[in-house]
């Protein structure tokens, strides 16, 4: 341990700690911009400078390791003046656009400008005047707002191994650009949205489509139907001043009715349905010698990744559509019929933790209902904006039920929101189907948690099934390289594009660290425990849809409405 004094407070910290880490441990806050708690040290913004006794120059706290006897001052007038100048320089070529900005009130630069009371910037104001990039249906880039911290570059390369973002030029002309300086759509970007979470400012964001929802609600001839994905509930509270996990599901549903949704249904219903279809698909592949390992297919960022980087492994992907798209295809067929509503009048909106879902719903093949299966995808953040705009007081709002036929769900569907959840849900059902015995302890703890790759073995009546789970695409890549090399020992692999699974999705409330992801994961399992039914095949509405409409898993109707195919992306460069 190393003894240091920070602002007069003595402490000892592990060798190799930076000034920033040491200060944090005793509650001294040093401002940062390029620093990210889960990333490598960048040291390029200098806003974290401090005075170190005996040193003439100021030191960057996020870079400088402590030494024995070091004395640091973090709040002297000299330090404050330097930080102010650094902020003024950054702001001198930053658009003064907070009122119109997607990160207004949730921006690290804006917060520092407020904390350091930047008023009359002595430097003349000149922005670079670069065009916004709206080339993808999921994300936009506004390079003028970029402060060149490079956190998005690390998210895209190290965390996701997609490498769609890089540097262009250097020094004064440096910019962060998609591959070759092209539009994002021409890069290998998989639209996972992890760069949005990494960005401290409003230089990257989701494509907002709230106005389209409001137009549909305003039209008296349109029936607006919504589905809520499993990961949204645990995080939506964060958007309206509640703690993670603190929004009860029935109050969330009531809030959506306040906004004007006509019917509130649940993606959890099709998550349960996915388990029946995908579980049976796995058993079929095991029995009939189909392509193994089978990969899950719920995460559209992962599907994009597989289609882009592993087009030779598309046969390994489950043919099951994602729960969102299964829901879309059924809402305008089965549900419309049951509810006696003309499917042509249905406007199907899904509420998702995901940016890639915005792209997924626009895929040309997703029209098996005879219409666009899903008309609109709104992220958790967009729903948060709607709630704030509507001024709903969730403490006082009485809960509301979900509507019939596609609103019931089990704990197995809830856990789809966390990495390992699909696997655990599948095992709960597959075990009972194969062994014919009741699974007493439904908790498969090994599948849980945020670590990048998890593996497990399950004994199904003498057949040992080996499974693996990866979250974050660089972890997926490791498993895929094994499959490609023919050395993968697994039968079934669950992949979620985003770190921690959907609870860390690109459309979730801005997530500054993995610690927040872990909090959400814990809340997912609290919700699962609280469910009376925790196995997908026991969902009464799932039983009903098989009796009345689908008849059997992998049957003719399922094949038509619930399954899909994949296409190699053939990107120009990777």
């Amino acid at each position: 341990m190393i003894n240091v004094t920070i602002d007069g407070i003595k402490t000892s910290v592990p060798e190799g700690s930076t000034i920033l880490k040491a200060a944090e441990s005793i509650g001294v806050k040093i401002p940062t911009l390029c620093n990210h708690p889960d990333q490598a040290v960048k040291g390029n913004c200098r806003v974290c400078v401090c005075e170190v006794e005996g040193s003439r120059l100021l030191s960057a706290a996020c870079v400088m390791p402590v030494w024995e006897g070091m004395a640091v001052k973090t709040r002297t007038p000299k330090v404050v003046e330097a930080r102010k100048t650094i902020l003024e320089l950054i702001l001198s070529n930053h658009p003064q656009d907070c009122l119109n900005c997607i990160r207004n009130q949730n921006c690290e630069l804006q917060t520092l400008a407020e904390e350091y009371f930047i008023r009359d910037n002595p430097f003349s104001q000149k922005t670079r005047g670069m065009a916004k990039d709206y080339s993808t249906p999921a994300l936009f880039r506004d390079p003028d707002k970029c402060i060149l911290c490079r956190r998005c570059v690390e998210a895209c390369s190290v965390v996701q191994s997609v490498n769609a973002l890089g540097l262009d030029q250097r020094g004064h002309h440096a910019m962060v650009v998609p591959t070759m300086g092209w539009d994002l759509i021409d890069s290998p970007c998989v639209m996972c949205g992890q760069c949005i979470h990494a960005c401290p400012v409003g230089a990257i964001g989701e494509v907002e489509e709230i106005d389209r929802l409001l137009a549909a609600i305003a039209d008296p001839d349109t029936v607006v139907v919504t589905q809520i994905a499993p990961a949204v509930r645990v995080a939506i509270g964060e958007e309206v001043g509640l703690a993670t996990g603190d929004m009860p599901m029935d109050v969330f549903a009531a809030g959506l009715r306040q906004i004007g949704f006509d019917y509130v249904l649940h993606t959890n219903f099709t998550a349960d349905l996915t388990i029946l279809e995908e579980g049976n698909e796995l058993l079929k592949r095991l029995q009939e010698g189909g392509t193994l390992p089978m990969f899950t297919s719920c995460s559209p960022g992962w599907i994009n990744f597989c289609e882009t980087f592993y087009p030779d492994l598309l046969d390994n992907l489950s043919t099951c559509k994602s729960p969102q798209q299964m829901f879309g295809a059924l809402a305008k067929t089965y549900w419309a019929e049951k509810s006696n509503i003309d499917p042509a009048k249905i406007y199907s909106v899904s509420i998702m933790p995901c940016t890639a879902k915005k792209y997924e719903c626009s895929r040309p093949e997703m029209n098996d209902s005879g219409f666009r299966d899903v008309d609109l995808v709104l992220t958790t953040r967009e729903i948060g904006r709607l709630f704030r705009m509507s001024g709903i007081d969730f403490d006082k709002l009485a809960g509301s039920h979900f509507d019939s036929w596609m609103g019931a769900y089990t704990g197995a569907a809830v856990i789809f929101g966390a990495s390992g959840g699909v696997m655990e849900a599948a095992l709960r059902t597959v075990y009972e189907v194969v062994t014919g015995q009741t699974l007493e302890n439904v908790n498969f703890e090994v599948t849980r948690g945020i670590q990048g790759i998890k593996e497990a073995e399950v004994d199904l009546n003498g057949t040992v099934v080996k499974v693996a789970i990866a979250n974050g695409l660089s972890n997926a890549r490791q498993l895929m390289d094994e499959v490609r090399a023919g050395t993968s020992p697994y039968h079934f692999i669950e992949i979620m594009a985003c770190p921690g699974g959907c609870i860390g999705g690109g459309g979730q409330p801005i997530t500054k660290s993995n610690a927040k992801r872990v909090e959400r994961i814990n809340q997912i399992y609290v919700e699962d425990e609280a469910c009376e039914i925790r196995k997908s095949h026991e969902n009464p509405e799932v039983k009903a849809i098989y009796e009345e409409f689908l008849h059997e898993p992998l049957g003719h109707q399922s094949h038509h409405l619930l399954h899909t195919h994949y296409t190699a992306k053939n990107k120009k460069v990777l």
């Binding site: 390369s157 490498n163 769609a164 973002l165 890089g166 540097l167 262009d168 030029q169 250097r170 650009v177 998609p178 591959t179 070759m180 300086g181 890069s187 290998p188 120009k572 460069v573 990777l574």
Partner: protein, 147 residues
């Protein structure tokens, strides 16, 4: 020689991507996108990174440019010695601005950093050949060599 052939020659050289870019640049006078993509494949780095390398160094250009590259030193000694007048004369003579290429594809005009000839400022280089103590009135003569 095609850019593929040029790049292939450096495939086994450790860190050969920069040398490969130099060789392509010499042949094409800029780095075509396809060459950057090919280098990314050969050296097994993401295209975004190869592009980053290509655009980082001022001696590489990622845009089509004139065959004869005129570079003008913009470091302090040349600046003080009257580089601005040389810029104006070059721009007037070629009818283009700094950073552009002539329509006939013959000349490109760029800034560069100190070329180590500060004893005889201002300095320009054409295809890496230095011209020292340049004044506006000798520019037409220098350019004539390349027409």
């Amino acid at each position: 020689m095609s850019y593929k052939g040029i790049i292939a020659r450096y495939a086994e050289v450790p860190g050969g991507i920069i040398e490969a870019f130099h060789a392509v640049e010499k042949e094409f006078s800029f780095l075509p996108e396809e060459a950057i993509a090919e280098a990314a494949r050969v050296f097994k780095v993401p295209a975004a990174e190869a592009y980053g390398v290509a655009s980082f160094y001022s001696m590489f250009s990622t845009e089509t440019r004139g065959k004869n590259i005129i570079r003008l030193c913009e470091s302090a000694p040349c600046h003080i010695a009257g580089a601005a007048e040389v810029v104006a004369a070059l721009e007037k003579e070629l009818g283009i601005r700094m950073g552009e290429s002539t329509n006939d594809g013959l000349f490109a005009l760029e800034f560069t950093e100190c070329v180590g000839q500060c004893q005889a400022t201002p300095v320009i280089t054409i295809n890496s050949k230095p011209y020292l103590d340049v004044t506006p009135d000798i520019i037409p003569n220098i350019l004539a060599e390349y027409k």
